[in-house]
């Protein structure tokens, strides 16, 4: 193996011509700025800044292997990352092999699936990774032909010299390319010259998925591995006594152990462990408050009237504005706890050995899993390896490493390799939920229907700051007060797809609709007036780009025929509007509702997104549609309630998820521009609920202020 060390801080660490004769390029960008993730629902989840490194190899046959370092949770990163590298490399996509990289903080940076942050964080690095390799391959060809580099071009895995009509494949050139110095200043393509980015590229794991090959954490088996399940206490309880005699006597059961108020059953098969778990005789005792949903509903009212709120943003003088208002609009909106409920329940493989720990499984934060494991065992993180499996969804649940640490605990206690499995009931009762929140909005209008004052208070249970104080309409209102008040509960919460905004956007965009109605203005026109004001006379700092927000509004208006569409009966179609900025992307949506047999039926959602350059049309469309379905599904049906610290829903027979016969048509549009791309795993979810609720209001005159819609009197009462 030949190795060339490179001293540039911002460049290649190492080039090695591997024993197989292939070119392996390692990249490490020390000077890269840290990604700002928005996983702020639970500050305990703070993801430490990590190094990124992209990695590709080309073999003499021209097969290009691209390692994808970030965890694949269904957001399509395992396809999108390699597309970016392959574009700048001018690779033949049919010759690209994609492999999931393990956790490697020396080679890679920010191996996290969260905050819709992977694409914006890695865009430039991945492009440079491909472009650098391409430049070296050109250099090798130019040398062999003795022609100027400037006369050479590339296309689909070949270097071309059109003057002499010659070409060489990348595979032919790798060995020579590996000997060349690493260019420190590579030229990236003009966006208009992209050939692969922006096209329709299929999920790189399709072949394995449709034939049922092992891909997911739960599919991982190891010779001699034991299976484990835990019985955890309900929220507010601790372990008092355990009688495991019957369980231990059951076939296949190897051991029953306890730690941290959990009882772990370990055995030789999943089913044997499940049955033995059900046979445990456990007494729990009260250790904390035993909360119920009825307590939370009472608590919300107290919190909204509390004097202990934390001010998040204050512009102008709201008291005077409301005193001088011609009209005041006031409304409260509430959302329940939600389970993440990814289809693949939590699970992880752990083998604690004297020389280190092997971890294999589905995690959105492998580095956190490693560090928590090291902390638990009192060893250094380098003793812990983490292999990433494809994840059967995550939606934020797998940002936490609790289930990884459980697997480690059990492996250590029984001194064996263990796969820890959560049942669906464990998943639904076991915590880390989308927090429940109640908002109070107040708006002051002057005689001309201008919003001169705006107040928002977020009251929440384990959500921290349930507002996004620098988001719209901040900047557009002279007098504004945003504050929040949080209750600390034994019920654990965590980031749930589009944390906070997954509900705040519905509440805010519905309330803006109410204010527009009170002002006697078209809802879109009302929003545009506010944005124009923020553009011309901005109040304080804001985090959103006004022109991009207006851009998606315009696109949604155009595609939906806002306000002009007529149904088959010649009557105007009831449409509802919503627009939201989250995770660096902009999305406007229009919902269309018809009343059939006295019930509002959501027929269609038009979505217009600005996420900058679209990497993969297929993946991007999927993310938008999936977000809309997810947003609507949870707004309509999602509801996790509590009785004395225990959820009242334990599986999908009680916890309703949206199904195929409940989806509206979804039309997906993107603003076309050349802005650096931002993520799409979350931003199309927040506006969906508001678009639907506003359309239902238009169709029925009923205003839905709480979720799930199906449980609301306003919804039931529609006839």
């Amino acid at each position: 193996m030949q190795t060339i060390e490179h001293s540039s801080r911002r460049g290649f660490l190492k080039i090695a011509a591997a024993t197989g004769g292939g070119l392996i390029l390692g990249f490490n960008w020390f000077e890269s700025e840290a990604a700002t993730t928005t996983l702020t629902a639970d500050s305990a989840i703070a993801v430490p800044g990590t190094d990124f490194n992209s990695y590709l190899s080309i073999n003499p046959q021209g097969i290009i292997t691209i390692l994808s370092p970030n965890p694949e949770v269904g957001q399509g990163i395992k396809t999108a990352f390699p597309i970016i590298v392959a574009e700048e490399l001018d690779a033949d996509w049919t010759k690209v092999v994609v492999e999931q990289a393990p956790l490697d903080t020396k080679k890679f940076e920010r191996q996290v699936a969260g905050g819709s942050g992977s694409i914006p964080h890695s865009w430039e690095r991945l492009r440079k990774a491909g472009a650098t390799a391409r430049q070296m391959l050109i250099g090798a060809a130019a040398k062999r032909w003795s022609v100027p580099v400037a006369e050479c071009t590339t296309d689909k895995g070949f270097v071309l010299h059109s003057v002499s009509n010659r070409k060489l494949s990348y595979g032919d050139l790798v060995t020579e390319a590996a000997q060349l110095p690493v260019p420190t200043d590579v030229k990236l393509k003009a966006i208009k010259d992209f050939k692969l980015i922006g096209t329709t590229v299929k999920n790189v794991d399709n072949a394995k998925i449709i034939t049922g090959k092992p891909l997911f954490g739960l599919d991982f088996y190891r010779e001699g591995m034991l299976f484990a399940m835990l019985q955890r206490p309900a929220f507010g309880y601790k372990l008092k006594s355990l009688n495991a005699e019957a369980a231990k006597a059951m076939p296949g059961i190897v051991n029953v152990v306890t730690f941290d108020n959990n009882v772990a059953v370990v055995g030789k098969s999943t089913w044997q462990v499940k049955k033995a778990k059900d046979a445990l005789k456990i007494e729990w005792e009260k250790a904390d408050a035993l909360e119920s949903t009825t307590d939370h509903n009472r608590l919300f009212r107290e919190l909204l009237d509390s004097s202990g709120a934390t001010i998040r943003r204050k512009d102008g003088d709201v008291d005077t504005a409301f005193k001088n208002a011609a009209k005041v609009v006031k409304a409260e909106y509430q959302c329940p706890f939600l389970s993440h409920a990814p289809m693949e329940p939590m699970n992880f493989f752990a083998h604690v050995r004297p020389d280190g720990v092997e971890l294999v499984g589905p995690t959105q934060t492998p580095e956190l899993a490693r560090n928590e494991t090291a902390k638990l065992l009192g060893i250094t993180p380098d003793k812990v390896s983490v292999q990433l499996t494809r994840m059967g969804g995550g939606f934020g649940r797998r940002l936490k490493a609790d289930y990884v640490v459980e697997a480690v605990q059990v492996s250590k206690l029984v001194n064996a390799p263990v796969k820890l499995i959560w049942t669906r009931e464990d998943d639904m009762t076991g915590g880390s939920y989308r927090p429940a929140v109640r908002y109070r909005f107040e708006a002051a209008l002057d005689a001309q229907g201008n919003m001169i004052g705006y107040k928002l208070r977020g009251a929440s249970i384990n959500a921290g700051n349930a507002t996004r104080e620098d988001n719209f309409p901040a900047g557009a209102v002279d007098n504004l007060l945003i504050d929040s008040v949080d209750h600390k509960s034994p019920i654990t919460t965590g980031p749930w797809r589009a944390p906070i905004t997954n509900f705040l956007a519905f509440a805010e965009q519905s309330f803006i609709d109410e204010v527009a109605q009170a002002a006697g203005k078209d809802p879109v026109q009302f929003r545009l007036e506010l944005l124009n004001k923020a553009k011309q006379k901005p109040v304080g700092a804001i985090k959103y780009d006004i022109d991009r927000m207006k851009g998606v509004i315009d696109l949604a208006v155009e595609k939906s025929g806002w306000g002009k569409r007529k149904g088959a009966d010649g009557k105007p179609v009831a449409q509802g509007f919503s627009v939201y900025f989250s995770h660096r992307s902009y999305v406007a949506q229009v919902g269309e509702v018809v009343v059939q047999k006295g019930k509002p039926v959501l027929q269609k959602v038009y979505s217009a997104a600005d996420c900058g350059v679209v990497i993969n049309q297929s993946g991007a469309q999927q993310q938008v549609r999936g977000c809309v379905v997810d947003g609507i599904g949870h707004a309509m049906y999602g509801n996790l309630t509590f009785k004395d610290g225990m959820t009242q829903q334990k599986n999908f027979n009680e916890y309703r998820l949206i199904r195929l016969n409940e989806i509206p048509e979804v039309e997906v549009h993107f603003v076309q521009n050349e802005i650096d791309p931002t993520g799409l795993g979350e931003p199309s979810l927040p506006p969906a609920g508001g678009a639907v609720a506003n359309a239902i209001f238009k169709a029925t005159g009923k205003r839905l202020r709480s979720q799930p819609f199906v449980e609301q009197e306003e919804f039931k009462g529609v006839s």
Partner: protein, 163 residues
């Protein structure tokens, strides 16, 4: 514990398990056929769907003792290479997001097309509504079933042809 002999994907398998063990866990833990997924354990989500004599069946609630001489087909046996029209349609329309539920979706769709080669959209919706996709790939699932129904031949899979 008892010995159970099963016919799966045209092959004979044998497992020494308790009679109430769901077929799902015998497939996964005993035979390494992990394409059939666990999602809920109570026949609510469809991730564990297999064919029992060609009929879509939830393996998570089917005790191994109840399988008897029935012919079991799992996603691994639907075709050897992913060539079944439903699998092909799933790839063509790029249906999967996370992919976890898709084996169950494909098995449900394949069974539908076997008994009803040209289903209406209502019939597709009615059948596919039994399977949850948490990523929300429902639009493409519906279109893929339609696409597969236009392929020929449809639903001709025979587990006995696979090895």
């Amino acid at each position: 514990m008892a010995i159970f002999k099963l016919q799966i994907n045209g092959r004979s398998y044998q497992a020494d398990v308790e009679p109430d063990t769901p077929l799902l866990w015998v497939l996964r833990d005993n035979f390494g056929l992990v394409g059939t997924k666990y999602g809920c354990g109570i026949a609510q989500c469809g991730a564990c769907t297999v064919h029992l004599n060609g009929e879509a069946t939830r393996a998570c609630v089917l005790p191994v003792s109840a399988v008897g001489k029935s012919k079991v087909t799992t996603i691994e046996g639907l075709s050897e290479t992913g060539a079944h029209p439903v699998q092909q349609a799933w790839d063509t329309l790029d249906v999967p997001q996370c992919g976890y539920c898709q084996a169950g979706q494909i098995m449900t769709a394949a069974a539908l097309l076997k008994r009803n080669p040209k289903p209406s959209q209502n019939e597709i919706d009615e059948t596919m509504t039994g399977n949850i996709c948490r990523c929300g790939t429902y639009h493409r699932i519906r279109e893929a079933v339609k696409l597969a129904s236009m392929s020929s031949p449809v639903g001709t899979t025979k587990s006995s042809k696979t090895k």
